[in-house]
Symmetry: none
Subunit: 135 residues, 4 copies
DNA sequence: GTGGTCTAGACCACG
DNA sequence: GTGGTCTAGACCACG
């Protein structure tokens, strides 16, 4: 499981970690029962304070996605894949909703938004497989 | 100029005010030279701390969209319509970019995002002119 | 709202704060819409680090019991009284269940447990109103 | 001596092991001079880290309940039955005291607690001899 | 080794 | 003024 955080994002680091763990599990990168990297390892890998990672893990535990195996670390729960699939959808949906609210308030139409999406998508990451896709 | 503020939104209130003033000017609801409501009036109308309105106005002044008329209040500048048209675009584009970033991190494709947009758009506000639109 | 924490308890301080806020709301000491003491005030009153109080508030917020009023502080939600009544019951029930599990594993009977309760109850606090009560 | 450990309990595993050995001896399931299962055997039987079992045995040794027989393993001491009878009582009493503290903090009365006990006792384990008992 | 709690204190956004 | 995030680092229980 390879994570990345952007220190200068407006999104808190611990929340970025939460999302990325959710995405990794939803994508099947980590399976139920597997241990995620330890707080210490992950904090070194991400160049982030251990407390920040611990906070992300705590949230994931309360969400039923991780469970602590005493003395071993944090493991992916049996329900995690299902929970993460749903959560992934909701995270993205929330951001889309925000964008649409702004677009509507600005007086744009649905086609306007679609145009913006097609305009911005290719500019995102270096290579996003299906970025230039269809439509 | 009629503004609305969502107290429970994750978007800061002052930023909501800024955006709505920008949108109102870009839409031609308020014209160059017209006065906007006073900090006091607007804060009462929106049930919001006067400091919050003041901060929004300050930001609009720094952006060259509003200018203070001594003894009268804040007025829409001559350049405001042009500035607001551009800014409106950037505000929306910024939110769209956020949504795309989340979508990409979640492993979605461009078509997935378009689907989400079509899914969410009709659910927005009660009345959104072209909400049931085309495509 | 007057809270007390026991620094030497095995129960984490932040959890003690959570429970006591829940109990105070369930008891009607604080009502929906009221602000609870600020993180800073409470941390001074309890002689505890502000972070510890903040963590308790965070939990209460995620539980839907408190909500942050931006710039003002944390307020008791409309649903809090109902939530707290239920939660209070579950907190106590959990402790009772623990005790019964131990009692059963030790081979005690229900009457044995009742006897223990009557034996221990009066020894609790200095004065507990109905402590010497009935039965 | 048949022990059971609940991996998801909030009570540390080593403490569960200590309690169950104490209860078994107090109940006369194992007698003075008898050997208890080896750390290795017990850890395999309970699916638990050997260190955890070792720690439990260490504690039981310090309490004078077990003593090591060089080359043979750990044996129940002569004083164990008496010690365990007392300790069993204190273990249960401690849990009861915890429950009462929570109940008192929640504003419950002694009758309330008795009611909770009668409510929860039958729900405990499948077979608890006198669970449906009297009162 | 693992995570959990807590302190101390900085810095920030918001109002 | 308010809460939110983050760092740094100590200490502890558990395994």
């Amino acid at each position: 499981m390879r994570l990345r955080v952007l220190a200068d994002s407006t999104i808190p680091i611990y929340e970025q970690i939460v999302s990325q763990v959710v995405f990794a599990i939803a994508a099947g990168d980590v399976s139920s029962g597997e241990l995620v990297p330890s707080v210490r390892d992950l904090s070194q890998q991400l160049l982030v304070n251990p407390n920040t990672v611990a906070r992300a893990f705590q949230e994931l535990e309360r969400a039923g996605i991780l469970e602590s195996r005493r003395g071993l670390g944090m493991a992916v729960t049996a329900e995690a894949p299902k929970l993460c699939a749903g959560r992934r959808k909701e995270i993205v949906r929330g951001h889309v909703r925000d964008a649409l609210r702004a677009a509507a308030a600005a007086g744009l139409s649905a086609p306007d938004v679609h145009e913006l999406v097609d305009d911005e998508w290719p500019r995102l990451a270096p290579r996003n497989g299906r970025a230039e896709s269809s439509r």
